[in-house]
């Protein structure tokens, strides 16, 4: 077999602008065998761990749940369910701290585990997945709560439903893992190559891609070797495992596509517009687990690393496990720990507390000391050196964007392609003036969105107001027209009246009374017609007996006094 591995044909690679060679700091956490994290006493499962609508809880406090039971169902199309990572009792459904850049708490289900790890039997393994109907596969992936595990946590089933207008020819699998420190994907590729390929096969069927380009940074030789071996063993000639140069951020979706294919995803578009779709390697694994094993997404590999923990390592972790417990299993904090970061040092976000759970999107916990993640010094003036532009993988001009963002000139900063910024942090990293450029761009983006929202709201209000004015004008015109008609009718009653055939001849001389009678008759006819169709006015649908009697009484009274009491002006108006 190694022979066929050697025959990997040379794949042409391309470059994106800039990027950084960062110290990769991966070796400290690359330890085998992979450990399973101990079962925690309490699992805290946030209801929203994905992009889209939060899930709707299916359980109540006090419910017993089994491992793999659905705790909350998706709400809407772009949504994903969450499952019980272990068996136990639901002890709380409450708003609790979660790992989120905003630091805001969110609704969570808390399970007190019973330690028995008893499985429920909600999802069955799909033995014939290779021939299963694509819609069944998608449903399975959705029901298993699989979301993109590269960081964005976009519901996978949605992404695996490509539109008709953009046929997919190339599936890109992202195994770049370009952020320093993080090694969970590396270990996954080293240990689960076969299953990853099964997942890739399923994805390929669902999107209809002809080939798969599997990009891995060349600082992971073992992962590349394992995968090439597995591809050769399985005889998947449509998969190319490609070693790409280690250059941050080659794991960015658009950057990876550029490196592997030389093509650029047009600004503001998704890869599907150029016939590509990109999935993270751990998503492929989760899909295989969901389909082949019937196992929902209830655990993932998490890297616990940094100089702030004693024994950096990777752990297989149940979703919902508190961060503090994982730190404890990595030997606890060292004295130097300064910051706790979810994700890598370039794009991760800091936690203010370790009392938050691991979610589907948590790939790394970086307990950094003050050298690894120093407090940002005072920013000094920009000296226009242009290093930011040289480092920018989106080929933007961060310096110019910074001036305009600082001046709150949102229009201008958008003209400089603000929304092509992927917030990779290269510009901030190289800035000699220590200006937090990315923060300025996030600010400008948020401001732009807020402004756009405001403009939309203002536009809607304006349209509403104009519609209201138009309606008033129309009503006024109609009223005047009617008034005029009536006046004309009063002038020559003899000509007009004979038209009102049903009206009692005694009333014929009085057009007002005639109109009232006509209206009453129309109402009665309508009521009868509705009764015939079995439709009753909705507001009387579920009334209690005394209420019905009261209504009857009122109706009777009204019928008696109707003709006299109703003012003709109101009816006629």
């Amino acid at each position: 077999m190694p022979h066929s591995v050697q025959k990997q044909q040379k794949h042409t690679l391309y470059r994106f602008n800039g990027g950084l060679h960062l110290p990769d700091n991966k070796s400290q956490s690359l330890t085998l065998p992979l450990e399973k994290a101990a079962l925690p006493k309490r699992l805290i499962i946030p209801l929203q761990q994905h992009i889209g609508e939060g899930a709707e809880p299916l359980v109540k406090i006090g419910d017993q749940v089994l491992k793999g039971d659905m705790l909350a169902k998706p709400h809407g199309y772009v949504s994903a369910p969450v499952h019980a990572p272990s068996s136990g009792t639901v002890v709380a459904i409450d708003v609790l701290p979660i790992p989120h850049p905003s630091g805001l708490p969110a609704p969570c289900v808390v399970i007190e585990t019973d330690g028995k790890e008893r499985w429920g039997n909600q999802l069955q393994p799909m033995a014939d997945y290779q021939h299963a109907d694509p819609s069944l596969l998608r449903e399975r992936i959705r029901n298993a709560g699989v979301v993109g595990l590269g960081g964005a946590a976009f519901p996978s089933s949605v992404k695996l439903t490509p539109g008709m207008e953009n046929p997919i020819d190339t599936l890109i699998i992202n195994g770049a893992e370009c952020e320093p420190y993080i090694t969970c994907d590396d270990l996954l590729m080293q240990t689960q190559a076969e299953k990853i390929l099964i997942g890739i096969g399923i994805i390929r069927r669902l999107v209809g891609a002809a080939r798969c380009l599997f990009g891995i940074e060349d600082n992971k030789p073992e992962a590349i070797r394992q995968l090439r071996q597995a591809v050769a063993d399985a005889g998947l000639e449509w998969v190319s495992v490609i070693a790409i140069p280690t250059l941050y951020p080659s794991g960015g979706e658009k950057q990876l596509i550029k490196v592997l294919t030389g093509r650029e995803v047009p600004s503001g578009s998704i890869p599907a517009t150029i016939g590509m779709i990109c999935h993270n390697v751990s998503t492929a694994f989760a899909i295989a687990e969901a389909v082949v094993e019937g196992r929902p997404l209830i655990s993932r590999y998490v890297t616990v690393t940094g100089n702030g923990v004693r024994q950096p390592k990777n752990l297989e972790v149940l979703i919902g496990t508190p961060v503090a417990e994982l730190i404890a299993q990595a030997g606890g904090y060292t004295g130097q720990v300064a910051k706790l970061i979810v994700g890598g040092p370039m794009m991760g976000f800091t936690l203010n507390s370790d009392e938050v759970p691991v979610t589907k999107a948590t790939n790394c916990l970086l307990a950094a000391d003050s050298h690894e993640a120093p407090d940002p010094g005072v920013a000094v003036a920009c000296i226009r050196c242009g290093r930011c532009a040289s480092a920018c993988p989106a080929n933007l001009l961060p310096q110019q964007m910074y001036w305009y963002a600082r001046a709150k000139d949102l229009e201008k900063v958008q003209e400089y392609n603000l929304f092509d910024c992927i917030e990779c942090g290269c510009c901030s990293h190289v800035c000699p003036s220590h200006i937090p450029l990315v923060q300025y761009f996030r600010f400008a983006k948020t401001e732009s969105w807020a402004q756009e929202k405001e403009q939309r709201a203002a536009e809607r209000a304006r349209q509403r107001h104009e519609a209201q004015l138009a309606r008033k004008e129309r009503l006024e015109a109609e009223r005047k027209a009617k008034l005029r008609q009536k006046k004309e009718a009063l002038k020559k009653p003899a000509v007009q009246q004979p038209d009102a055939a049903q009206v009692d001849s005694a009333d014929a001389v009085d057009p007002k009374k005639a109109a009232i009678a006509a209206a009453l008759q129309r109402a009665a006819e309508k009521k009868a017609r509705l009764a015939e169709q079995g439709v009753e006015p909705k507001n009387q649908a579920d009334l209690s007996e005394p209420q019905k009697q009261a209504i009857e009484r009122v109706d009777k009274r009204r019928a008696n006094s109707d003709a006299n009491s109703v003012t003709s002006e109101k009816q006629g108006g």
């Binding site: 994106f16 602008n17 850049p101 320093p180 658009k254 550029k258 650029e264 995803v265 047009p266 600004s267 503001g268 578009s269 720990v337 300064a338 910051k339 706790l340 040092p345 370039m346 794009m347 991760g348 976000f349 800091t350 936690l351 203010n352 507390s353 370790d354 690894e372 993640a373 120093p374 407090d375 005072v378 000094v380 003036a381 000296i383 226009r384 050196c385 242009g386 290093r387 532009a389 040289s390 993988p393 989106a394 080929n395 933007l396 001009l397 310096q399 110019q400 400089y416 392609n417 092509d420 917030e423 942090g425 901030s428 990293h429 190289v430 000699p432 003036s433 220590h434 937090p436 990315v438």
Partner: protein, 347 residues
């Protein structure tokens, strides 16, 4: 445990402004030392005088603007400006001219616009031009290089000339000073002398003026160090030297007796200092890569034009200042094509 929170990226920043400025100062030192070697202690006195004045002016201005003084002094940009001006000044320039020049550079060209990063013009070059235009005699009274100097001055004598104007006994200004090679070359060319005739004088070395060409070599070395350290990019030096070389060679080819050869332009006057240390000043230069190529090439062209047909002997300062004015416009029209966009920027 509780932790402090900040936004990404969290990694340690490898660069800082003070590191950048210190590296440039470091790269300047070989050339400056060569200047001292060839032109005497006056150069060192000027460097010290200029640095002290610059720091004092910067501190004063920052104080007046109610900003913290130490971080601004600590970025070493004022010292760098002072040193760049000092190595461009004649070695025995009266002290008050140096002080006026530096004070103008720091107060009027830099701080009045808002300090480091906000000045549209290169402070050292603006000050140089101010002095050259206002005091042309003093500014063109250069010393001969060490090998041609019959009356080398000691440190004390130099200080005495600079601070009191008193010449050592028995010496006159005429005996002490001479024109720069560039000045000599173009003055004589203007007198319709042949190039071969001019070059027969003992003033000349292999490429440019004796001594001067060696100073140029050391600046070149410093510049290569800056390139190696990635403090500057190659775009401006290469395009500036390249365009100057090409046009000079072209004219020399057309008339070998009327126009000095290409290397003469590179190794004479302030060309190499300008190419690596002045034109690359990020604050006042272009920032887009394409823009830097245009910017550098235009400086090279202007240097040639002003040297050949202009009224002043050297042209680097004028060329840089003129292009400083054009830099924002060049930047605007040379924006790179952003990822995923069609077409090339704003062209």
């Amino acid at each position: 445990m509780r932790f402090s929170t900040i936004t990404s990226p969290h990694s340690a920043r490898p660069n800082s402004v003070s590191r950048t400025m210190l590296l440039v100062i470091l790269a300047l030192l070989p050339g400056a030392a060569a200047m001292i070697w060839y032109f005497g202690w006056g150069v060192l006195i000027n460097m010290i005088l200029a640095s002290v004045t610059a720091v004092a002016c910067e501190a004063l201005a920052v104080r007046l603007r109610n900003r913290p003084v130490l971080p601004v002094i600590g970025d070493f940009s004022a010292v760098l400006t002072a040193l760049l001006l000092a190595v461009a000044l004649p070695p025995l320039l009266p002290w008050w001219l140096t002080v006026i020049g530096v004070a103008f550079a720091i107060l009027m060209v830099k701080q009045i616009y808002g300090g480091l990063g906000y000045n549209p013009f290169n402070p050292a070059m603006a000050a140089y031009v101010l002095l050259l235009v206002s005091y042309p005699v003093q500014m063109t009274s250069w010393l001969p290089p060490e090998m041609l100097n019959e009356h080398p001055l000691t440190l004390l004598q130099s200080a005495s000339v600079i601070f009191t104007g008193a010449l050592p006994a028995g010496l006159s200004w005429d005996a002490l000073t001479m024109a720069t090679p560039l000045d000599a070359m173009f003055t004589q060319l203007d007198q319709s002398r042949m190039l071969s005739e001019i070059l027969a004088q003992p003033l000349w070395g292999d490429f440019g003026g004796r001594g001067w060409e060696w100073v140029g070599n050391w600046y070149l070395l410093g510049g290569l160090f800056l390139l190696y350290k990635r403090v500057i990019s190659w775009h401006i030096p290469v395009s500036m030297l390249g365009s100057l070389l090409v046009i000079a060679m072209l004219f020399h080819f057309l008339d070998q007796e009327a126009y000095p050869f290409g290397m003469f332009h590179i190794f004479t006057g302030g060309t190499l200092l300008g190419a690596f240390f002045i034109a690359t000043d990020p604050v006042s230069a272009c920032t887009t890569r394409k823009g830097q190529l245009v910017y550098g090439a235009c400086i090279g062209l202007l240097v040639f034009i002003i040297r050949t047909w202009g009224g002043y002997p050297d042209a680097v300062a004028f060329a840089v200042l003129l292009m400083n004015m054009a830099a924002p416009t060049i930047d605007y029209y040379t924006q790179p094509r952003a990822f995923g966009h069609q077409g090339a920027g704003r062209d």
